[in-house]
């Protein structure tokens, strides 16, 4: 009997050892079979996001002793996944900061390595979007890419209209005049994606409205214009776009929409897909339409950055990479595939304009040199709560459930009551 018991105890002990062994893992930097240091970097949709491969290839060519291993995560789940990874003490060396809100959260929780000293040694004026990473004077990430919104247009569908200096009213009139056809043949004058930023962040960047403020009357005009376009049939109804999970690419690159307000990142995709023969749209880029004429080109966007995980296995190599990627060499590597880098100088801009297929006319030049780029969503500990409320009320206004004044009032009331 005791023999049986001992056997049982031994079996349980063995099982426990096996299960707990999985939880361990060494803290030392890992090496490949041929002796290179392994640098792991979290990325999203690696195959569809060419900038990562461009950066990694260029970095490895520059640093032959380092082997980069991407940790690929589905773009939609990226924030949640990285949050969970960090909570579990994950040791991935470099973390890509997909948006500034998440960055602020990781940074304030002490999950990222302090890079303030490195930043203080940089020519700050050459970096677009660096300010967004300032958390009370400390920096925990360095941006390598700066997106801002522009207006894409289909040259064949738009014709010879002058797009260099549009107001939203002129944009709306143009969209209505370029709408034609019916049913499956219908061509919309424009496509406005379902995101709340298409209305709200545009309005904020051009009227000076504060998205965290609790008073949202400044969104009224942009909503009125958008709903009017929808009523006139000049843009796809929001409900259809949302329930069919329509992608903006499926509308613009198939010639179903003449205009498309979208982030500058889309250029890289249009260029790559055209080269691969996936579409043959003759496209151009114009500045985002403006609320008022003569006030310069005001747009919004967000920087993307790399940060060093505080638990990084290979912190030294991680730091080298982050600095390299955000600097001139990294900027050149991403500019060459049509992504607008955070760091710019004449050489980098020339590399960007020199991408085969990139529009280089005067209108495009104006679009690529906006006068101001406001952060898509201000960084604060309230950002993600407010974001959720603004998104929910945006859905209600766009689906016609609430009138514009009611929706805007509800936004304000909820932000004041629930976030406070």
């Amino acid at each position: 009997m005791t023999r049986h018991l001992m056997k049982g105890v031994a079996a349980v002990a063995a099982l426990l050892m096996v299960t707990t062994a999985c939880g361990g893992g060494s803290d030392e930097a890992r090496k490949t079979a041929d002796g290179k240091d392994i640098l792991s970097i979290s990325v999203w949709n690696y195959e569809q996001t060419p900038e990562f491969k461009a950066l990694f290839d260029a970095f490895e060519a520059d640093n032959p002793t380092i082997d980069i291993q991407p940790v690929d995560i589905l773009a939609d789940d990226y924030s949640d996944k990285v949050t969970t990874m960090l909570a579990g003490g994950d040791k991935t060396d470099v973390l890509t900061m997909k948006n500034v809100t998440d960055y602020a959260r990781y940074g304030t929780r002490g999950q990222l390595t302090d890079l303030t000293e490195t930043v203080n040694g940089l020519p700050k004026d050459s970096y677009l979007g660096l300010d967004a990473f300032d958390l009370d004077g400390k920096y925990y990430a360095l941006p390598y890419r700066q997106d801002f919104w522009v207006l894409y247009y289909n040259k064949k569908l738009v014709g010879d209209a002058d797009l260099s200096n549009l107001t939203w009213a002129e944009y709306a009139a143009l969209a209505k005049s370029k709408t034609n056809g019916d049913g499956a043949e219908k061509v919309y004058g424009s496509y406005q994606h379902v995101w709340r930023s298409v209305v709200q962040a545009i309005a904020a960047s051009q009227t000076g409205g504060d998205q965290l403020g609790g008073d949202y009357a400044w969104m009224t005009d942009q909503y009125t214009m958008t709903l009017d376009l929808e009523k006139a049939g000049a843009i796809m109804p929001w409900g259809t776009a949302n329930s069919q999970k329509v992608t903006y690419d499926s509308q613009f690159s198939t010639g179903k929409a003449a205009l498309l307000p979208m982030g500058a990142w889309y250029s890289a995709r249009l260029i790559a897909d055209k080269a691969a023969g996936k579409h043959d749209v003759d496209w151009g880029v114009a500045p985002l339409p403006q609320t008022a004429k003569g006030a310069g080109v005001k747009t919004f966007g967000s920087p993307t950055a790399f940060a060093v995980n505080k638990n990084a296995r290979n912190a030294a190599a991680a730091k080298t990479f982050v600095e390299w990627a955000s600097g001139e060499k990294g900027a050149t590597a991403v500019a060459k595939i049509g992504i607008y880098p955070s760091f710019t100088n004449d050489a980098v801009l020339a590399a960007y304009a020199g991408v085969a297929g990139m529009p280089t006319d005067d209108v495009a030049k104006k679009a690529f040199a906006p006068d101001s780029v406001m952060l898509e969503m201000p960084v604060s500990d309230k950002s993600s709560d407010v974001d959720q409320i603004l998104k929910e009320e945006h859905e209600l206004i766009m689906s016609g459930e609430k009138t514009i004044p009611d929706g805007i009032k509800e936004m304000g009331d909820r932000v004041k009551n629930e976030v406070g």
Partner: protein
């Protein structure tokens, strides 16, 4: 004396053997379910962002929940979903089981067809139903217009109808599984009962009420319990189909738990909501057990 010790030893031995049989399963249950559940209970009285050390806050999380409109909206939506999903699935499953329990050419094909949604990827189900429900281009509204309804509902784009759309989709998905349970239940009813009833002159409805339904009581009890639990913890379907929208019209409790915990990093608060959800499911299940016991007496 010796006899006594030997029975005691024997009993102890049997107990130990019994334990050793359930041990492998119990270790898994303890590590992956029991410990997290107890931890969640403790966490619901703390504030924790998953990184710094948890801080004891007493009942603050529950107070916050009480005063938070999102919680009440989610609770109401979850109950609404359960009230639609449980009876509709039950009736549909029983109805199809009755239909497919008779000798019929191609009965296997029909049974498979009805079970198919259950083994289909949920994400695919949600995306495709979303397209079917599309207000302008979707086949459902095109059909409704064709039969003369001029203003068909906006389904997933309307806050009044979005939950109905989710309920319909979930009923379609789940009924096949419960139908199989009912089919198994129906086969255990002795045919003699029906023959005797027929001889006594009982009609179809009388036979259904007095033979089928009472004989199926254990199955129904099991189905109701499973449906209740799955209704209250619904998450995946809503997340993919509507993400809780439009507005908050389909926001359910598990989604709120996910949002507050994983997305916002408020693990204490989200644990508190989980505890409330747990208590609700527990109470409803206990009530059902009580009703079942009473009806068996």
């Amino acid at each position: 004396m010796t006899v006594l010790t030997s029975t005691a030893r024997k009993r102890r031995r049997t107990t130990l053997i019994g334990w050793s049989f359930i041990l492998p399963n119990f270790i898994g249950f303890a590590a992956l379910t029991l410990v997290p559940v107890v931890a969640a209970l403790a966490l619901s009285f703390m504030e924790w962002d998953s990184y710094s050390s948890p801080e004891w806050v007493g009942l603050a999380n529950f107070e916050r929940m009480w005063n938070n409109a999102n919680f009440w909206v989610a609770l109401k939506n979850t109950c609404f979903y359960a009230l639609g999903h449980i009876p509709l699935t039950l009736v549909a499953a029983l109805g199809f089981a009755m239909l497919l329990n008779r000798p019929l050419r191609g009965v296997g094909l029909f049974r498979t067809a009805l079970f198919f949604p259950y083994v289909t990827s949920l994400v695919a189900v949600a995306v495709v139903w979303n397209m079917l429900f599309s207000p302008d281009l979707g086949p459902i509204n095109q059909f409704l217009r064709a039969i003369g309804i001029d203003n068909p509902p906006g389904w997933t784009t309307s806050s009044d109808w979005s939950m109905a759309a989710v309920v319909l989709t979930s009923v379609w998905r789940d009924m096949g599984y419960y139908m199989v349970l009912y089919l198994a239940g129906l086969q255990t009813i002795p045919p003699e009962l029906y023959e005797a009833a027929k001889v006594d002159g009982a009609g179809a409805w009388a036979r259904f009420r007095n033979i089928t339904l009472p004989s199926l009581r254990p199955t129904t009890f099991f189905v109701v319990i499973m449906l209740t639990i799955s209704s209250f913890k619904v998450f995946d379907l809503v997340q993919v189909m509507t993400e809780g929208g439009p507005g908050r019209s389909t926001l359910v409790l598990s989604q709120l738990i996910f949002r507050e915990g994983i997305t916002q990093g408020r693990f204490g608060y989200s644990s508190a909501i989980s505890m409330v959800l747990f208590v609700i499911v527990l109470l409803v299940t206990l009530i059902q057990f009580r009703i079942q016991q009473r009806s068996e007496r």
